[in-house]
Amino acid sequence: MHDLLPHIPESLSSVFGSIAFFMPEVYLAALFIVVMITDLIFGKHSLKLCRIVACAGLVLVMYLDLKQFTLVVDGGHLIFSNMLLLIRSGIFFKLIIDLLSFILLLYFTWDNKLNGHQKGLSDLYSIAIASVFGLHLMVMAVNLLSIYLAIEMVSIASYLMVAYRTENAFSTEAGLKYVLFGAASSAMMLYGISLLYGFSGSLDIIFHHTIEQLSGVNPISTSFAMILILIGIGFKLSFVPIHFWVPDVYQGASTPVTAYLSTVPKIAAFALLINFLSPFMFTGLWTGFNMSIAFSVIGIITMIAGNFAAVLQTNIKRMLAYSSIGHTGFALMAVVVLSLQSVSVLTYYLLVYALANIGALALATYFANETGAEDVEDYRGLGLKYPIASVCFVIILISLTGLPVTAGFTGKLFVFSAVYGVYQQTHNIWLMLLMVTGTLTTVVSLFYYIKIPLNLFLKRKEMAEISNKKSVNLLVLSIFISFILILLGIFPHWVLQSL
């Protein structure tokens, strides 16, 4: 007590000082409250209002994110007594996250199934906003406590979103699996954290002396703790072997939620992973297992497992789920060769992937709305009925596969060059294996991506009846996305330059 008293003032001032660097999150919190209250006040009819408020708020938040760039010109800032770290790349991650969530918030109501939910969607909006808040924390967290907190926050929000459509058995089942799996893995993570804390005596992993402390401990013990923590992070990233939940959950959740799950938390998780790993990878003091090799192995296995398993899927969402696993594996490449440059490449890749994935799922929704198509077979011959949507679909899938002239290709290209750059110095065989696997799985991925155009255009089928309700917004969205993808395919530097 007494030894703390003198410190109170300056620690308080530091706290207040930190708030300046924390504006977006503050506004997010406020936004959350506002949305929640509008929901409470206007009850059932609040949906439109919540939507408007939430989206508008997100725009504001993005603006604030942009403003933060001015704060980090002189390097990063540790705020809230080392809880969070605000750096340039982090701001980018936040921006991307906000942008995507903005799109997703718009997208929620366009899905007929989700929209048909009796209890209304307004709660979903408040949950989503809260999760965005959590994501922001995730991006910035550098303290074991904040990390754990952020992850839990996002997880809980996600559980709720997945299980949101209570009247739908699939959604509920997905929710159950998700929550059980998630709770278990986060519990493991907590155990790992406790061990790590125990071994290092501090929660601030970002600090040099923390790692020093660890280096004093038997590597086996520290690596065990590390592995347990990685389980927790991996659960958000969904790399092998913590990916089992993904297909079921993605399939079960309503499509916009799937779009959400498969993109934003993943991006944040990557940011978190980078923040978490960099002290271990850069200060040469980490005595545990070799991170880069470990992640190479994980990456290779993940790519293979994801892409190869996707080949045999028939349900669109399930297929995309597997493919997203594959993409995680691919993105892990950039983590293996962690460096400032690779971070920006990774950011680009994730952005592109996320856009494409959202587009794909949006189109899945579109076709589901129009014709109730869920499986690939249901798409037979739709291509000529819905030419625009189908063309967009093709473009988006091409981008996911990573063929020119789409952003997906440039993303792959840059990741490869990042890895190559390191390979030239180190001649680390794992990197070569990573790249080879990456290319191989690209071919494999075509196997299943091509199924969709195949059914859309190549298969013939006399048309079934067509629902008259046209989801134009989705069409616009997908057109927009595919346009962006092509644009980035031709002029990647427009984005990548700034990253």
């Binding site: 799996f181 939940w245 045999l312």
Partner: protein, 684 residues
């Protein structure tokens, strides 16, 4: 200066002479298929080129060769030229081809009159003339090869002219592919030569002290002025060229296409498969003569000799009029090759010229006969083969002009005095003997066999003539109610015969009907080294040949005329002589005819089963290989792909095995994997 102008002029004439038929061909191609004008266009064209080539011949013959070329295209550093090379050899051929072609054209106008693809026929014919004429004058091996194949191509077209006849189609395919074998040989030879001498120019390679003469084969290397390659390739080049010759001029073993080629119109056979194209091989041999070494020449001689003998024996037993002639052509070509082999360069070409005339004549005769038979067949629709000589007989009264022409041609073919054939053939025989003196005794076989062959020739020619023109019309005998009105046909039929018949007599070639060495043609072509030796053979050979030939002819007469002739001879006379007759005939039969015939049929059998059989075997083998390849493609190469797909699927299935849908199972497997990884890490 004078010469230079002449040269220019003759060059222009040559070009014109070559181009005219092509022009005709093009014009005809654009004509409606039935138009009768086509015939005249081609005929006039060939007439003109005939005149022109005569002029050229006149200016160039026995004068220094004219050679002009301009650059065709450049490839790498090598510049490929296209040009014209006029020397005795080429102008002779030029003249020969055009002169032979003219009557054939005239003849064709009548012969093909009723065909409903009349203008096509003349298109092809003119095209052939073009390529043949070009072939003989070009100076670059590439061009030579080009026209070499074009000649084959046009013959392909003409053989298969009646392409609805399956046999015709089979025949022309066979012809083309067999020729292709030769072409490949030629091509590889040309490539070898190019690789060795870095040029395609005939003159620089084979001309006076050309590269060939400067290059030597020493210790396994063929060293030329510019580069050297393993000597093996010199042999391969020669083999290639030999293949080409064998294919074009139907030498053993690539000769079997020629008899089949008789499916084409007879006029075509006359021009292409008797006179000109088949001679191209010999011409080629003449062009590249310097590159053959002694041993290679000897081999050539043997092959030529064998071919000649074999073909002659086969001709003995044939009943198809045109086939007989075809085989005789083969055997005559054999003579020429043999001549080349034994170094009788001049005689060979001499024989080429003479043979062209009389064989063409004979074919035209055959054409008329067949034409008439065809008429009979059509008029009182019989089921007979119009070409089968066993149906004919006694036509000499009905077709007098034809008969005379035929006899002249036949005599020339047999090589009796006063005919051109006598000059050339005896030349060959004599020189063959002279040559064999230079070698050990075994080589005597060659001239002797040649001698024998020429007697056989006499026999089958006799058989042909007697069966067709003497005796009585067997067809009439078998079915008496046929009404026949036979005639030589109008002038387009007869005129060519007359022309050619005249050309078959000695004056055209030499004023001394008994000495080939005095014929201008021989003198123009023989190498300066050649000595006009007055040795025993100059007496012996002609006598032996002619005397025995006459005997043989007589024998043939006895057999084929008198045997069937007793019906119209008086009884008494018949009884008196019957005994001897029987005796003589039997004698002939037992001693000459039967063995000969047996031999003939044996050879024919070999020809059909062994040689052709071998070819068919090849075809079958390649077919089998093809099927094998297809199978490989379908099952092995593609199978590999499917295997890959299967692997992908199985990996995918493995990954999916975990997706049992049971969350605890997920957790369990997750933990197990993590644990295993960790333990692994500890152990490593």
């Amino acid at each position: 200066m004078e010469d230079f102008l002449h040269a220019i002029q003759s060059l222009n004439y040559t070009v014109a002479a070559v181009a005219l038929p092509l022009l005709a061909a093009l014009v005809n191609f654009c004509m409606p298929v039935k138009s009768k004008a086509a015939g005249w266009i081609s005929t006039i064209a060939i007439l003109l080129s005939c005149v022109l080539s005569t002029r050229v011949f006149a200016t160039v013959w026995n004068n220094p060769q004219v050679h002009a070329q301009r650059i065709w295209f450049t490839i790498g550093q090598t510049q490929v030229y296209a040009g014209i090379l006029l020397n005795n050899l080429s102008v002779l051929m030029l003249l020969l081809v055009s002169v032979i072609a003219l009557p054939v054209h005239i003849y064709s106008t009548a012969y093909m009159k009723h065909d409903d693809r009349y203008s096509r026929y003349f298109t092809y014919l003119s095209f052939f003339c073009f390529s043949m004429l070009a072939l003989v004058v070009v100076d670059s091996l590439i061009l030579f090869y080009a026209f070499w194949e074009l000649v084959g191509f046009s013959s392909y077209l003409l053989i298969g002219f009646w392409f609805t006849k399956d046999k015709a189609v089979q025949a022309n395919k066979k012809a083309f592919i067999m020729n292709r074998v030769g072409d490949i040989g030629l091509l590889s030879a040309i490539i070898v030569l190019f690789a060795q001498f870095h040029t395609f120019d005939v003159d620089t390679i084979f001309g006076q002290n050309g590269s060939i003469t400067q290059s030597v084969i020493k210790n396994g290397l063929w060293t030329g002025p510019v580069s050297q390659i393993p000597a093996l390739w010199q042999y391969i080049a020669c083999v290639g060229i030999f293949l080409a010759i064998a294919a074009k001029s139907a030498q053993f073993p690539l000769h079997t296409w020629l008899p089949d080629a008789m499916e084409g119109p007879t006029s075509v056979s006359a021009l292409i498969h008797a006179a000109t194209m088949v001679a191209a091989g010999v011409f080629l041999l003449g062009r590249v003569y310097p590159m053959f070494t002694q041993t290679e020449l000897t081999i050539l001689a043997c092959i030529g000799c064998f071919t000649a003998f074999m073909a002659a024996t086969i001709a003995l037993t044939q009943n198809d009029l045109k086939r007989i002639l075809a085989y005789s052509t083969i055997s005559q070509l054999g003579f020429m090759i043999l001549a080349m082999g034994v170094g009788a360069y001049a005689s060979s070409l001499f024989h080429l010229a003479t043979h062209a005339f009389f064989k063409c004549l004979l074919f035209l005769v055959a054409g008329i006969v067949i034409h008439q038979m065809q008429h009979i067949k059509d008029d009182n629709n019989l089921d007979i083969d119009p070409q089968d000589i066993s149906n004919m007989g006694g036509l000499r009264k009905k077709l007098p002009i034809t008969f005379v022409a035929a006899v002249i041609g036949a005599l020339a073919l047999v090589g009796l005095p006063l005919t051109s054939g006598y000059l050339s053939k005896d030349g060959i025989l004599i020189q063959a003997f002279e040559w064999s003196d230079g070698h050990n005794a075994w080589f005597k076989i060659i001239p002797l066999m040649t001698l024998l062959t020429s007697w056989l020739t006499a026999f089958y020619v006799g058989r042909l003539i007697f069966k067709v023109f003497f005796g009585e019309f067997r067809l009439l005998k078998n079915n008496p109610d046929v009404k026949l009105h036979l005639s030589d046909g109008n002038w387009p039929f007869t005129l060519p015969l007359v022309l050619l018949a005249i050309c078959c007599l000695f004056p055209l070639f030499s004023f001394n009907p008994f000495s080939y060495e005095h014929s201008w043609l021989f003198e123009g072509l023989r190498s300066s080294a050649h000595s006009t030796g007055e040795d025993i053979y100059h007496r012996l050979v002609p006598i032996s040949v002619n005397v025995i030939s006459l005997l043989v002819l007589f024998a043939a007469y006895r057999i084929y005329v008198r045997e069937s002739g007793f019906t119209f001879s008086q009884r008494g006379y018949f009884y008196r002589l019957s005994y001897n007759q029987w005796y003589i005939d039997n004698l002939y039969k037992r001693i000459i005819v039967n063995p000969v015939l047996r031999l003939g049929s044996a050879c024919f059998w070999i020809d059909r089963t062994v040689v052709d059989g071998f070819l068919h075997l090849l075809a079958r083998i390649s077919g089998a290989v093809a099927r094998l390849a297809a199978w490989t493609d379908e099952y092995i190469v593609d199978g590999f792909l499917h295997l890959l797909a299967a692997i992908v699927q199985s990996i995918g299935n493995f990954a999916r095995k975990f997706q049992s849908g049971k969350v605890q199972y997920y957790l369990f497997s997750m933990l197990v994997i993590v644990l295993l990884l960790f333990i692994l890490k500890i152990l490593i």
